[in-house]
């Protein structure tokens, strides 16, 4: 099976400044903030509708400047993982 990385249009970001700040930053860079990731405090699920849904290339564009945003501690574009049922 293809071993290439498949990038999605979902991001995980870590913004210690709280939900409001996350909301601001999301809209500033064109993301939709889908809320906190589970029970992980300060981690948020961002979705970028104008990015290719599945690509072997990590996405470029102005939205990727989010990683330079000082209030953003960590950004990870989500990659599809091969998981099998046992």
């Amino acid at each position: 099976p293809c071993k290439a990385r498949i990038y999605t249009n979902h991001w995980a970001v870590r913004i210690p400044g709280g939900p409001e700040q996350a909301e601001q930053i999301a809209s500033k860079y064109g993301y939709r903030n889908l809320g906190q990731i589970g029970d992980l405090k300060d981690y948020y699920h961002f979705f970028h509708s104008r990015t290719i849904k599945r690509s072997t290339l990590s996405s470029r564009g102005t939205h990727s400047f989010i990683s330079m945003e000082p209030k953003v501690e960590w950004v990870q574009q989500q990659v599809v993982k091969r998981r099998t049922k046992r």
């Binding site: 889908l34 990731i37 990870q76 989500q78 990659v79 599809v80 099998t84 046992r86």
Partner: protein, 805 residues
Amino acid sequence: DYKPSYPGPVQSSMAQSNSIYFNDAKWSSMWYIHCNDNIHNCQSDMNIVGAWKRGYTGKDVVVTILDDGIERNHPDLIQNYDNEASYDVNGNDMDPMPRYDASNENKHGTRCAGEVAASANNSHCTVGIAYNAKIGGVRMLDGDVTDMVEAKSLSLHPQHIDIYSASWGPDDDGKTVDGPASLARQAFENGIRQGRKGRGSIFVWASGNGGRSRDHCSCDGYTNSIYTISISSTAESGRKPWYLEECSSTLTTTYSSGENYDRKIITTDLRQRCTDSHTGTSASAPMAAGIIALALEANPFLTWRDVQHIIVKTSRAGHLIAPDWKTNAAGYNVSHLYGFGLMDAEAMVKEAEHWKQVPSQHICVENADKQIRTIRPEHVVRSVYKATGCTDNANHHVIYLEHVVVRITITHPRRGDLSINLTSPSGTKSQLLANRLFDHSMEGFKNWEFMTTHCWGEKATGDWILEIYDSPSQLRSQKAPGKLKEWSLVLYGTSVHPYSFRSDKPRSLAEPQPEDEYSEEYGGPCHPECGENGCEGPGPQQCITCLHYFLKFKNNTRTCVPECPSGFFRDDKKRCKKCSTLCESCVGSRSDQCSTCRSGLYLLEGANTCISSCPDGFYLDRDYSMYRKCSENCKKCTSANICTECKTGLSLQGNKCQLSCEPGTYYNGHRRACEKCHTTCATCAGTGMEACNECASGYYFEEWRCVSSCNVGYYLAEQTTDNGDVHKSCQKCDPTCYVCTGAGERNCSTCVSGYNLENGVCVVSTICKDESWAEGSFCVLVKKNNLCQRKVLQQLCCRTCSLMG
């Protein structure tokens, strides 16, 4: 084959009589829950009914299944379904119902859920192991699974959900090395730190179905994590199922499917149905989750580590068949196939009832060994690290081990050719990695964390030996050999004995314990045989560690002894281990390691085995009560130097066996070969004509040699043996004859000088002169002793000697 007692009026589910009966359709097929040895050869010792009888059915415990959804309206699930423990991550909504399609692909989660908490006594399908627990499902596999999807699932409502059960992972294709990425790792740590109000979420994981593709579950970061309880499977028979993977991070085992003739696991299925097609370690993980739910009901305050300690203490090798069962230095039996053995629900709830929380976890990251070593084909790289257990740092000091992790970076042209072992200071060897036939990757391992549970309870300090083997499975370029770049040990455990605060119970509760009078914290004196770590009571079976040796009983309890009793031997880990049944004393547990034998048996020299009858080639030495070897070449003997039968090709000479030579030859002991006899011999015992045993034809025995014709003074005599054979030999003539034709004095044919032959008799020929003084008794003696031929005597006794007769 379980014959439910006919209900008449429907019995209550917890029947007052000895057996439990539910009216669920498949109840009678659930061998792994209700049968035990004495019912029609049924084999199940997870003792689930035993836990139920103690009143534990999972009440108030919340379990969720991370999978492809849950059919929450299934008649067997609807009653226990918990919305709060559910979510649809793939669809980003609250409803985890699976997506239905023709392939029925999304049945997995519903099947897992039924094993845990299908309702009991509702006439539907099956009965969950924790049939009163709350069950939820997270739909997260039915779409793109990303690090974030996993993190969301693993950290769903950690204050509400107690147990997360996952029956999935990286490909089990025997060539993947993958594990939780950063978010999922965060989720694990978050759950462990904060979940269940700080007691830690319980993550249960299926160890993998890659047996056929020679996969090794150490390459799966989820089962390798110390935060997950990795579960493997065994078939009803106790045999290893074809799909099972081995590794040292597996903690315990539950039943699952085996070969097609093995009985199956029953559970709920999509579209409100029932199935016995749920197989593999996928079926084992939820079963373990259900059992852990029973223990959490018995003691909701158990932390995530308490649960792992209880599993280690109560799981049992039982009838599980594995070639690598070993007992570690803490006295636990462990295998790479089944971890510490089959889960025992009843033993777990009993331990849980009185469990004292184990001391806080310490983590000791030993210094990395950064010395680069080349890994050459067919060679082993051995690296020894002297661990201190971080004695210099009170918050990280580890004396008693729980998990051990080896972080390792290796470059290598073909990862599948590598195998890695780790040996603890107590000598327990864990196989961290086995060769993987299909792993051609050149990526090596980058700071990969291998984990072993096999040193659980052992001491941390001392020499840890890492061994890396490179066994090329096919030709490889020699240009770039492998390199061990760096490795470090991470020791998890406690700085005080985990059970030293225990109040009342000895190490294991497999058997019901009489309420002993030490229900308070024990502060009294310890038994003299206790070691330096104190005790839980005055008896030798309540020591934490032993001064000399310890004897372990079937029910997992143990007692400290000054010496091992007869029938046991002591090994290098201060354990008294059983000799083979035939031995009285021994140096090992095999039957060929006896040093003395039980009465009626004798030690076979050289084989160190005990036998009752004396085999050929041996004789009984009563002084030493042993069978000793006969001398060389001897087939049967009565003592070391009395042979009674020789081996083929040899013949008995006296009490010895010698090479039996062809007739006409004899065995020369010096030259150790057969040599020709003298020409006059037909057979002989040695060289020369005096050594003949039989004469050649045409030759006759005369005294001890063979002659062609009798010499003077001998005549040819014939003897007929009993069987009619005629034997000829030269016999001596009568003394009065010089030459004779036969025996006696009447067959003389020639006389000695001074005698005349008269009718075959020799008479003295001399005239006697005057009467000699000696005539009388003296001369009679001379004549009786045939001395008349002597000249002097002849004259002296002339008259007597000349008389006839």
